[in-house]
C-alpha cells in the first residue's frame, strides 16, 4: 500500500483491456453470424475475435493478480467488489440455466402432437440415467468436498495440503468431464433430433461448458496456491472459484433429476 494514500480504495490505472475486450466480443459476434451464414471470411473473423477475447482475458486477469498480490491494492473494502461481482455473476448464471430448465419442462410437460404426443418423443432412445449419469452424480459432490477441504487447509495455513486438495478437486472434475464426453460420443441421438435432443444438449452442453470453465478456474487457484499467492486472510479468487464450483454442482443435481431421470421416463 502506498504510504501517502489516506483511504483504502483502489484507484485503478488506465487500462487498454476494456476496449480490446469489446472489440474482441464484436468481432466474435459478427464473425460467428458470418460463419453460420454463407459469408466469406466468417471463420477467419470468428477465430480472430476469439483469440482477441482470450488474450484480453489473460492479460486483464494477470493485471488484477499483480494489483492484488504485488501491489497490495486489494484491501478489505476493495475485496467487497469482487465478492459482490462474483455473487451477482452466479445469480445471473442461475437465471441462464433457469431458461433451459424452463424450455425442457415446457416441451416435456405437454408434449406436442408433432413429436407423437409423448415424452421422450417416439424414436428417441434416451440415455439410461442409472448408468453414467448416476455415476457422475457422486463425482461432482466429491469434488465439492475436496474444494471445501482446500478451503479449510488454506484457512489453517496448511499450504501444501491445500495444493493437494485442489489437485484432487481438479482430477475429479476431469473424470466427470471425461465421462460426459464419453456419453456424448455414444449418445444415440443428437442436438438435431427433435426438441428432446435440442433441450437435452443445450442444457447438459452448457453445464459441461461451465464445468470446464470451473475446472480452469480451480487450476488457476491451484497454481496460485502453489506460488503462495493465497493467504489465510486473503483468498478472494479461491472463494469465488469455490462458490462457482458449488453452483455447477447444484445445477448437475437438477439436470440429473429433471432431464436425465424424470425426462427419460
Amino acid at each position: 500500500m502506498i504510504e501517502s494514500q489516506r483511504h483504502s480504495y483502489h484507484l485503478v490505472d488506465p487500462s487498454p483491456w476494456p476496449i480490446s475486450g469489446s472489440l474482441g466480443a464484436l468481432a466474435t459476434t459478427v464473425g460467428g453470424v458470418m460463419y453460420m451464414h454463407p459469408f466469406q471470411g466468417g471463420a477467419r473473423l470468428l477465430s480472430l475475435g476469439l483469440i482477441f477475447l482470450l488474450y484480453t482475458m489473460f492479460v486483464w486477469w494477470r493485471d488484477v493478480l499483480r494489483e492484488s498480490t504485488l501491489e497490495g491494492h486489494h484491501t478489505k473494502v476493495v475485496q467487497l467488489g469482487p465478492r459482490y461481482g462474483s455473487i451477482l455473476f452466479i445469480v445471473s448464471e442461475v437465471m441462464f440455466f433457469f431458461a433451459f430448465f424452463w424450455a425442457s419442462s415446457h416441451s416435456s410437460l405437454a408434449p406436442a402432437v408433432e413429436i407423437g404426443g409423448i415424452w421422450p418423443p417416439k424414436g428417441i432412445g434416451v440415455l439410461d440415467p442409472w448408468e453414467i449419469p448416476f455415476l457422475n452424480t457422486p463425482i461432482l459432490p466429491s469434488s465439492g468436498a475436496a474444494v471445501t477441504w482446500a478451503h479449510h487447509a488454506i484457512l489453517a495455513g496448511k499450504e501444501k495440503r491445500a495444493v493437494y486438495a485442489l489437485v484432487a478437486t481438479v482430477l475429479l472434475a476431469l473424470v466427470f468431464t471425461g465421462f460426459q464426453g464419453m456419453e456424448y460420443y455414444q449418445a444415440p441421438f443428437t442436438i438435431s433430433d427433435s426438441i428432446y435432443g435440442s433441450t437435452f444438449f443445450l442444457a447438459t452442453g452448457f453445464h459441461g461448458f461451465h464445468v470446464i470453465i470451473g475446472t480452469l478456474f480451480l487450476i488457476i487457484c491451484g497454481i496460485r496456491q502453489y506460488l503462495g499467492h493465497l493467504t489465510k486472510e486473503h483468498h478472494v479468487g479461491f472463494e469465488a472459484a469455490a462458490w462457482y464450483w458449488h453452483f455447477v454442482d447444484v445445477v448437475w443435481l437438477f439436470l440429473f433429476v429433471s432431464i436425465y431421470w424424470w425426462g427419460g421416463i
Binding site: K76, G116, P138, A145, K158, L172, T190
Partner: protein
Amino acid sequence: MATAIVRSALSRAAKTSVAPKRRFSSSAGHDDAYEAAKWEKITYLGIASCTALAAYVLSKGHQHGEDPPAYPYLHIRNKEFPWGPDGLFEVKHNEGH
C-alpha cells in the same frame, strides 16, 4: 435496507476469514485444521465410493437400441452446417458427397 443487510453480511464474511470467531482451543486455526482433516476424510470416502460405483456401472455394459424410423422431427436439417451436410457427432448420412 436490503443492500445494507447484504453489505453487513458480506463484510462479516470478509472479517470472519481474518479471525475465525469459533475458537475452542488456545491455538489459533485449530478449528480449521480439524475441519480440513474432516473434509479430507470425506473426500477420500467420496473417491472410494465413486471408484466402486464406476467399477460396477462400467462392468455392467449396456444395450444398443435399433435405429428409429425416419420420423420428420428426427435428424432435422434446415440448412447446411458451415462445415458440410453432416453434424459433427452423429452417424454420417452423406459420406460420399
